[in-house]
């Protein structure tokens, strides 16, 4: 039986198999950040051991950081302590750190790819569930807990049970106004929030083939939102072109040689998946979520559904079954995060808002995913477009995605957000999140209410 893309990468990284049990999996790249690493370093300390392969670990500060006045000390003392602890640990253990103020700083899943640290065929982990993002490059990338962060720091290995395989195919051309974010929200709405638990997903089909790397990352990023440990796509010329000339990517002959190997990373035609699902791109419209998990989504022109098990979610959101989304007043918009904080996302937003004015009721957070994205926004003249619209560009970080730093949505307020989770309180205690694409978020920023972006383009 032919191997899947996942099998090919996994099998190459198995150090040994425990009889009747899990595999010992070797990890090529380990990203760390300030929130889920301090207890792991403390564990190493307690055991009296060093980081085994510090050159394979890269650190950045993203979750806790303010998105204004980053040159000043962080006001929140606990956040500051965590960020300082990361700096201290990185120094002590010889780990490269792109901390606050560094030109490479940013959200861990934005900087890894843009710096060329994420390469096809790698195994990648990070103490963050959105590590699946890196799967867009044909890698096995998944989130881990802090004990596992410690494991990888101690031994560069993890003990893992091989997950089941699922292939999700989407074929056809997306309509104007429909983005990769809508595709993944659509898929999750069909599979539900736990529908892919126990699986590792491969995304296949012409729709993904026609996507940019940024768009592919948005798709893989949200694999965890249907329970999948991760999601990946076969690398192709789009991938190779993206990786060429990236800061830490392979160079010259090494790159050419690597591409030859990377071209073998695909699922063989006779490979068998434990589960196969397919969708048509033509069926996908701009999506929004109505509930408190990412599986509770529907098309923007749809109505809020009714069923007994949804009552709690609707009550939290302040929605009534049968209501339509369109026209619902929105006071908060967040554009950013590891899902949609890349340069392409801001270009798309600029395309919609250029020459227009922000609605007066809207408070918008535009947060670049990294210092490099921030710089591109500047260089491409997007900042000016946003400022003319009345939209302020903040500094890089996870921002209002997770209610951990200063950027929060007030209790009871609805926020149209390009992030990945609409859990209760995710964007701040009592905040109500509606997940959507950057295009939809841009449309909402202009009108102050839920708007079908297709009416503006």
């Amino acid at each position: 039986m032919g191997k899947t893309l996942f099998d090919k990468i996994w099998d190459q990284h198995v150090v040994k198999t425990i009889p009747g049990g899990p595999d010992i999996l070797y990890i090529d790249r380990h990203y760390i950040h300030e929130v889920t690493s301090p207890q792991a370093f403390a564990g190493l300390e307690r055991r009296g051991i060093r980081v085994f392969r510090p050159e394979k670990v890269v650190a950045t500060a993203d979750h806790n950081v303010p998105t204004k006045d980053q040159h000043l000390p962080i006001k929140d003392l606990l956040s500051r302590n965590q960020v300082e602890k990361l700096t201290e640990n990185a120094g002590k253990y010889g780990i490269t750190l792109y901390g606050l103020g560094h030109p490479f700083q940013g959200i861990v899943h934005v900087i890894g790819p843009e710096l060329g640290l994420t390469l096809p065929g790698q195994t990648i982990v990070c103490g963050d569930s959105h590590t699946a993002t890196h799967g867009a490059f044909g890698t096995i990338a998944f989130g881990i807990g802090t004990s596992e962060v410690e494991m990888v720091m101690a031994t560069q290995c993890l003990i893992q049970q091989k997950p089941k395989s699922m292939r999700i195919s989407v074929n056809g051309k997306l309509s104007n106004g429909v983005t990769s974010k809508d595709v993944i929200l659509y898929i999750i709405s069909k599979l539900t929030a736990g529908g892919a638990t126990g699986f590792f997903v491969e995304y296949a089909g012409s729709t993904f083939k026609h996507m940019s790397m940024e768009a592919r990352m948005t798709v893989c990023n949200m694999s965890i939102e249907m329970g999948a440990r991760g999601g990946l796509m076969a690398p192709d010329d789009v991938t190779f072109k993206y990786l060429e000339k990236r800061e830490f990517s392979l160079k010259g002959k090494d790159f050419t040689e690597a591409v030859k190997k990377w071209k073998k990373l695909y699922s063989n035609p006779d490979a068998k998946f434990s589960s196969e699902i397919s969708f048509n791109a033509e069926d996908i419209e701009p999506m929004v979520t109505w509930g408190t998990n990412p599986g509770q989504g529907t098309k923007i022109t749809g109505i809020i559904p009714d069923s007994p098990e949804n009552r709690g979610a609707l009550e939290y959101m302040g929605f009534k079954a049968g209501e339509s989304f369109l026209g619902k007043k929105i006071n908060y918009v967040f554009i950013g995060s590891c899902t949609n904080g890349r340069i392409e996302d801001f270009r798309e937003v600029a395309r919609i808002v250029k020459g227009k004015k922000k609605a007066t009721n809207v408070r918008a957070y535009l947060v670049p995913g990294s210092k490099q994205v921030e710089q591109q926004i500047e260089q491409e003249g997007l900042r000016q477009i946003f400022e003319d619209t009345g939209l302020e560009v903040r500094q890089p970080g996870c921002s209002a995605c997770l209610g951990m730093n200063d950027d929060k949505v007030p209790r009871g307020e609805l926020c149209v957000s390009t992030s990945n989770r609409n859990f209760e309180g995710r964007q701040g205690p009592g905040a109500r999140t509606i997940l959507a694409s950057p295009l939809t978020a841009a449309a909402v920023a202009l009108t102050g209410s839920i708007t079908d972006v297709r009416t503006l383009i």
Binding site: I24, Q82, T155, Q156, I159, I224, L402, M404, R426
Partner: protein, 196 residues
């Protein structure tokens, strides 16, 4: 890590599906740099109102409900990989979580901290909820060695899965890192073979 074999205790039913780790411990309480003390903020926004006053309707605030076992609706622990969720449950006093379905990362995190994950069929879970809702004093008996959960006196029992490696670790109180450190030479050999 503490050894686990038998856990017998009263249990707290939390009959909600898709309980994500943001509910178990909201992000704003993840700022500590040690593993202790997270129990205080377990289910923070369900347990307390915005002034920090306990909400009387939430089951953990009911003085009649005590126990080392939490019984929860399916897809428990979805979302964020934060191990703080497992630490918070453990710190609060839970030693086992029973549900019909667990999110992968959460399950790993829990087991890595000696918090037992007991996955039972939907029917078993539904009956357990019915019993616990009516009879708060009911004891649940979990035997890791036999991989069996039962409710004594109710003629209700079920096997539960756990991989043999993890089971051995829990029974003997050893962790994955101890094991990985013990095979360091094999890891070095692998590196040499693959990366030269």
């Amino acid at each position: 890590m503490e050894k686990i074999n038998i856990i017998e205790s009263k249990a707290i039913p939390l009959e909600i599906e898709n309980i994500d780790t943001d509910q178990i411990i909201p992000a704003r309480f993840l700022k500590a740099t040690t593993r202790e003390g997270f129990g205080e903020n377990l289910f923070r926004d369900w347990r307390f109102d915005d002034k920090g006053i306990p909400k009387p309707g939430f089951i953990l605030n009911n003085p009649d409900r005590k126990g080392k076992i939490l019984v929860a609706g399916k897809n428990f622990g979805s979302g964020s990989s934060r191990e703080h969720a497992a630490w918070a449950l453990y710190d609060y006093g839970f030693r086992a979580i029973v549900s019909s379905f667990f999110a992968d990362i959460f399950a790993n995190n829990a087991l890595n901290n000696g918090l037992l994950i007991v996955q039972v069929p939907d029917e078993f879970l539904a009956r357990t909820f019915r019993i616990l809702n009516n009879e708060p004093e009911t004891l649940i008996h979990i035997d890791l060695g036999k991989q069996e959960i039962s409710i004594p006196g109710k003629n209700l029992n079920s096997a539960f899965p756990i991989n043999s490696f993890k089971k051995k670790c829990l029974l003997e109180g050893i962790d994955d890192i101890d094991y990985l450190l013990s095979i360091k030479q094999e890891i070095l050999d692998f590196e040499k073979r693959i990366y030269g």
